[in-house]
Symmetry: C2
Subunit: 195 residues, 2 copies
Amino acid sequence: MVITIYGDSISGNCLKVKWTADHLGVAYRWLETGVLNGETRTAEFLAMNPAGQVPLVLLADGRPLAQSNAIILHLAEGSPLIPADAYERARMLEWMFWEQYSHEPYVAVARFQVRYLEKPVGDLEPRIVERGLQALQRLEGGLATSSFLVGEQPSLADVALVAYTRVAGEGGFDLDAFPRVQAWIARVEAALGIA
Amino acid sequence: MVITIYGDSISGNCLKVKWTADHLGVAYRWLETGVLNGETRTAEFLAMNPAGQVPLVLLADGRPLAQSNAIILHLAEGSPLIPADAYERARMLEWMFWEQYSHEPYVAVARFQVRYLEKPVGDLEPRIVERGLQALQRLEGGLATSSFLVGEQPSLADVALVAYTRVAGEGGFDLDAFPRVQAWIARVEAALGIA
């Protein structure tokens, strides 16, 4: 048995799981599950994930696991994508929790509204734009002294943060203003083979 | 050297760190750092945590660590608050990421606005109330078959989720509608000695 990934290919959260599995050589089958057409809200899906969100993984033994960052932490246990040093591991987790709280709700939401709901960039809530820019600025600062978010090797922090940062432009954010972020995106894409 | 916790006592995110340290017997000094009076936005503080958020911990060697859930995962490494079983550990992380994405932004924000900004409950954004109720309902469901969120022993998932759930009433949420959640709060408070 391989794992099953319920994912929507337009979702960076889902792609994190795909990239991690591909990078680590974890065998899976991908079941395309559309957010926009209600496939995450069916009774069948809610029985597997009451939160009604993708990605959802069924492990090889059939047990479910949700939340993109929890899934990639599980898949990558013991791999070089998780630093062996306790402090570096903690910093990786710091970035991953920050991503879900302070980055995704702005950078990903802006991109979703503009690209998939066809909202003009000028109609985005000012709070979303402002906090998205703050998140990108924070990333720019975090890359001032290292090639990746935690030191010189890619970790799950990079996987988690690159997912929506690389498509931030689709939400109206100008990545030219963040040159370290741009260079980092290219490095992470190359490391993961997703360029 | 002991660790230093920069925290605001009104913040559930900060109290998670205090409770975990207390429960595990980790020595610390607590530096009260007010969110409402701008103490997390001073140049000195931003130099330690560019995200401008508490809790922030300086480890015994002076290195900083932010994000409440990353901090408690670091403090509790190797303790019974983190399940030894890989799947249970993954489910714990699933709850912790869900907390920051789908619970805290609604349950904690409603409580902050009502209690500390003195906004009438009726003036809360409907989206905040609706999603807060969804989060509490999801918790109620998650407690249908076990005493704690991951099995029969308290884990960091309970620490993370109880922090704002126990004060949800301060944001206008009626916990009487969630009897399993109420009983679980009492169990977690007893387990952590915070009743």
